[in-house]
Symmetry: C2
Subunit: 239 residues, 2 copies
DNA sequence: GTGCCTATATATAAGAC
DNA sequence: TGTCTTATATATAGGCA
């Protein structure tokens, strides 16, 4: 979670001392979070941790509190229990789904950033050397930026004339936005690894046809090459 | 804990919808943390949460897992349980103690930053107008900076001559360090409030003589006014 | 191991829809 | 009410003493 270029892999820490250090830190953090949740929301909760470092389980808030919570828990009908058996599995599934969403979004963002860089190259050297696909995406991106600028200007027209300079500044920032940003790292894979470490069925999921459709969402990004006539940018930047 | 100038008070959230929103977010966060702890450290743990939002308790990892953990827990001798009764209280005490440490540190830091600002004022307008106390502290601070610069230069002498410009840059940064920083907000008080909300004895603690000694730790900061002869700064900046 | 520090990664309170 | 976004606050991995 920190101070590491590569994100810590969410898997069993094999280094003994590192694992113990992490255990102690995270145990403390977990207890604190439980404490805050209980205080902020006025609810009853408990945490129980068994570890090789202590013969006795470590608990929050304390043994009496745990037993009180347990008493309530025990009252839960046994039938309900089997019904909720898959709590953990669905939990993991949710995380995988969300990770895939993020991956998709990152792919799109990366593409947009690539196009932004290319856009500026075009503004400097023209864009005749690009592939047709890239030309399309660049057109789309420039158009999108211009539309946003237009929208912003429209919304600002409703305010007194004095703020016009702000509008100009904002649009300039928007145009420059992302030009120097590095591409963000991709997410998703780590969470999948996490799940794989604790659950079977990873291969099944990986081979799921759904995954193949998960890549860059072309239909939202592309502008048909032949549709250039409805783009405003070329007449704007290359009159 | 965010997007708010004043840190969220760690106390029951009275606004119903806000409380529910916070509950859901933090519940999710807590479960995730428990999950990570379990994976990273290969230990058995469980979380049980009772809330008014669900008739059934919400658990991690799942009911079977909880019951397995509970089985271990139940084996704990009853005598041990009473022995650990005060878990929560000592937990809060630890947090208060730590918060006080932080408060003390912040007070010291703030003082140091004040002195840094004053130092630069001095460098511009001389420091004849300061109180004796401030003159002392300013002397101390300038001296400290010069010592650090000296130390850094010494450590850099061990490296090839080519890096000398780096040394100069670093020392310049160190001199400028903090000049434009705002004073940090004080911590500690909120945690105390948190404890007060969940524990009695707050007033006793507040009135504890210890607290009176908790302020700015003068002996580490002050340099006796009469000891100016061992300072190097005055001859450096005011030759 | 024991602590502290700080750069980063996460969590999350408010806002905007 | 639920979702998404964004500015901040926390948590914490890896270093160092």
């Amino acid at each position: 979670m920190t101070r590491k270029k590569e994100k810590l892999k969410l898997a069993f820490i094999t280094n003994d001392s590192a694992r113990k250090a992490t255990f102690n830190k995270r145990k403390k953090g977990l207890m604190k979070k439980a404490s805050e949740l209980s205080t902020l929301c006025g609810i009853d909760a408990c945490v129980i941790i068994h570890s090789p470092y202590k013969s006795q389980p470590e608990v929050w808030p304390n043994n009496l509190g745990v037993q009180r919570v347990l008493a309530k828990f025990e009252r839960m009908p046994k039938m309900e229990q089997s019904k909720k058996m898959e709590t953990q599995e669905s939990f993991i599934r949710q995380r995988i789904a969300k990770a895939n969403e993020q991956l998709k979004k990152k792919l799109k963002d990366n593409r947009e950033k690539e196009m932004t860089e290319i856009m500026y190259q075009c503004l400097r050297r023209g864009h005749q050397n690009l592939s047709m696909v890239d030309q399309c995406d660049v057109n789309w991106l420039i158009d999108k930026n211009l539309k946003e600028i237009g929208k912003k200007i429209e919304s600002l027209k409703k305010t007194p004339q004095q703020v016009a300079p702000v509008a100009l500044k904002n649009t300039k920032e928007m145009l420059g936005n992302g030009m120097h940003r590095k591409k963000e790292k991709l997410l998703g894979v780590d969470l999948a690894m996490d799940a794989m470490n604790r659950s079977h069925g990873f291969n099944e999921w990986m081979n799921n046809p759904h995954y193949e459709n998960m890549g860059f969402d072309g239909d939202k990004m592309m502008v048909p090459f032949g549709d250039n006539h409805n783009l405003m940018w070329s007449s704007f930047f290359f009159p």
